[in-house]
């Protein structure tokens, strides 16, 4: 792959080119003390000089000494809410003169270009693709949104303390699944092209070839991000042994800390559970069927008439972990964890998924 160089002040040109191609450009911004992905009008809105300080149960933004736009690692959400909306109307039922009729609802879809997604986000996207788009029952709105997506990934130049993508094999640098991929340097960006769509945009940027010195800096950044990761998720084969540990005392131990709030499932970029509700208009003429995010930590999740299958928090935490780390492998060919560390940072009682998985699989005593 040939690498090119885009000077820092030219980042706006990339945004302008994407806009000219018809894309709405989505990128990271600071909002409510967190990094969130929102529509970008201008490159100046990017979080220059911001890093996050994360730890179990902790996420705080801090000012760094540099002026880089992509020095953060993750915000609470990546791509998931854009492709699999937290709330989406599936169809509408209407009483008409011809009787009861059903109409499929399609959300308004416009092409979106994302700037600043990470290797873990792309790995999560590939898993969501398997669930929503590649099975025998594809989700038409997911597919439509997915097809128009343009991805400008950024390789992580540092790792947050909650990151463990090296151990899941998903980062810190993106190897595929992007249209363009950036390595951020102090004075600009190395650009890799990952698709024909990406090449068309790259051609408009008037790029210069990247010097060997710049490429060496990017390599060092990659190595630093790898070395900074403290947490190591056990490998997939080891994680499969979780299915033999259904009766482990550790589940109860975790349940005594876990609030079953479902924060981990909300921030997890691969969690896909949803529930449906019927919302009627006041005249009783029309009713819309709405799909909402759901969490396996709620009692209702496993409810069938007369009983809750997973009544205990220990059973619900076990379901989440067993599914994510072990059964996911049987369903989708790999573990459902991409090492982003969001569930660790956003857990209000600081439960550390990696620590728990290691305790269960390897007998590590934290």
């Amino acid at each position: 792959m040939t690498q090119h160089f885009l000077p820092k002040q030219q980042l706006q040109l990339l945004i302008d080119c994407l806009r000219a191609e018809g894309y709405g450009v989505i990128g990271p911004k600071v909002k409510d003390d967190a990094i969130v992905f929102e529509e970008l009008a201008d490159a100046t809105e990017l979080p220059y000089g911001i890093e996050e300080d994360s730890a179990p149960g902790r996420y705080q933004l801090k000012k760094a000494r540099h002026k880089r736009a992509f020095a953060f690692n993750t915000g609470p959400q990546g791509l998931k809410p854009f492709l699999f909306a937290p709330e989406q109307e599936l169809w509408r039922a209407e009483h008409t003169d011809d009787g009861l009729i059903f109409r499929q609802s399609f959300p308004a879809i416009r092409p979106l270009a994302f700037i600043g997604l990470r290797a873990c986000d792309l790995a999560a996207l590939a898993l969501q693709d398997k669930h929503f788009a590649e099975g025998p029952y594809p989700d038409p709105s997911y597919q439509a949104k997915r097809q128009q997506l343009f991805i400008v990934a950024v390789n992580c130049s540092r790792s947050a303390s909650t990151c463990f993508c090296v151990s899941t094999g998903d980062g810190p640098s993106a190897e595929s699944g992007f249209d363009l991929c950036l390595d951020e340097l102090d004075r600009g960006y190395l650009i890799n092209v990952g698709s024909d769509k990406g090449q068309r945009i790259a051609d408009k940027l008037g790029l210069e070839a990247a010097s060997g010195a710049k490429r060496a800096v990017a390599t060092r950044q990659h190595q630093r991000a790898v070395q900074q990761q403290e947490r190591q998720m056990p490998d997939e084969k080891t994680l499969m042994t979780l299915v033999d540990k259904l009766d482990d005392q550790r589940w109860q131990d975790i349940a005594e800390r876990c609030l079953a709030c479902g924060n981990c499932t909300s921030v997890c970029p691969t969690c896909f559970c949803s529930k449906q509700e019927s919302h009627s208009d006041i005249k009783g003429q029309a009713s819309s069927q709405v799909r909402l995010w759901d969490s396996c930590f709620s009692e209702q999740h496993s409810y069938i008439v007369g009983k809750v299958i997973r009544n205990e928090i220990s059973q619900r935490y076990r379901q989440w972990v067993l599914h994510k780390l072990a059964n996911w492998q049987l369903q989708y060919g790999r573990s459902g964890c991409v090492g982003c560390g969001r569930c660790i940072a956003w857990c209000p009682v600081a439960i550390d998924l990696v620590e728990e998985a290691r305790a269960l699989c390897l007998g590590d005593k934290p």
């Binding site: 009787g99 059903f102 989700d139 369903q331």
Partner: protein
């Protein structure tokens, strides 16, 4: 098939089976025949209230039949619906009983409780195609004698050649003619079938099925001969919403009828 969008159906007839159980006869608003396997289910939708998964009872006189019990927030108002009303329906979903692959074998049906519709539908099919199969053994357990739905149907099956009907009531103290007191599993010792050349189909509370598995093992029925249908929270019907997972399986899509060896590792465990 658009699996996400319901089609409209007219409730042409409602048969009240017991005070809280009724059979809905539905006319589908389309010409094509509705192709399904016994053991599959549909999502029935009541306007403004929501959807509920109901197994398919059968197809008669051009109408689809679903037997429902008024227990949930959808089934209660659905049971109160007047004939002529419209509802929504999407399906069929999941895998049914492998009835076509069982020719020549003895069929053993074990059900308990009121949710026996998926098995009763299969019994109807087996009896209609009696010459394809060996003996047909029907074991049904209920709490009280009067809980048995379709009493006359069981009496008719009793008259069919090579068909054995055994009934048990677990909460009665006086035995009624042709009944036994106790659990459905106790009936297995009276059942006359070839354990080496049979297929067992079960439906009912999981504890009943767990217990039946032990009895069947004692009778030397191989695990490969056992099929069962499971109940879970189904909201999408296609393995997307995630609620119905059992180990690596999405019960709605990979079941609800399972070959026992497939789910053995996960079946009957508490809170899984």
């Amino acid at each position: 098939m658009n699996y996400m969008l319901p089609m409209s159906a007219i409730l042409v007839k409602k048969e009240q089976e017991t005070p809280d159980i009724c059979t809905l006869h539905l006319a589908l608003g389309r010409e094509r025949p509705f192709v399904f396997h016994f053991g599959q289910f549909n999502m029935l939708y009541l306007f403004g209230v929501g959807e509920v998964p109901i197994s398919i009872m059968g197809w008669r006189d051009g109408h689809l039949m679903h037997t429902i019990r008024a227990v949930g927030h959808v089934t209660r108002p659905l049971s109160d619906l007047a004939e002529g009303s419209q509802i929504g329906l999407r399906g069929p979903f999941g895998h049914g009983w492998p009835l076509e692959q069982l020719e020549g074998r003895d069929l053993v049906f074990i059900t308990a409780g009121l949710g026996c519709a998926p098995v009763v539908a299969a019994i109807h099919y087996a009896v209609r195609n009696k010459d394809k199969y060996g003996r047909i053994i029907i074991l049904q357990g209920v709490k009280h004698h009067q809980d048995l739905l379709w009493q006359q149907q069981y009496d008719k099956w009793r008259e069919v050649k090579d068909c054995q009907v055994l009934l048990a009531a677990s909460r009665e103290t006086q035995r009624k003619q042709r009944w036994r007191l106790g659990l459905v599993t106790g009936l297995l010792e009276l059942a006359e079938f070839n354990p080496k050349h049979c297929t067992v189909m079960m439906c009912g509370p999981e504890m009943m099925m767990v217990s039946s598995l032990k009895y069947l093992a004692d009778l030397n029925v191989p695990e490969e001969a056992i099929y069962m249908t499971l109940e879970r929270n189904f909201q999408c019907g296609v393995g997307s919403c995630g609620h119905c997972q059992l180990g690596p399986y999405f019960v709605c899509k990979d079941g609800p009828v399972f070959h026992y060896p497939q789910i053995k590792q996960w079946f009957g465990l508490r809170g899984v």
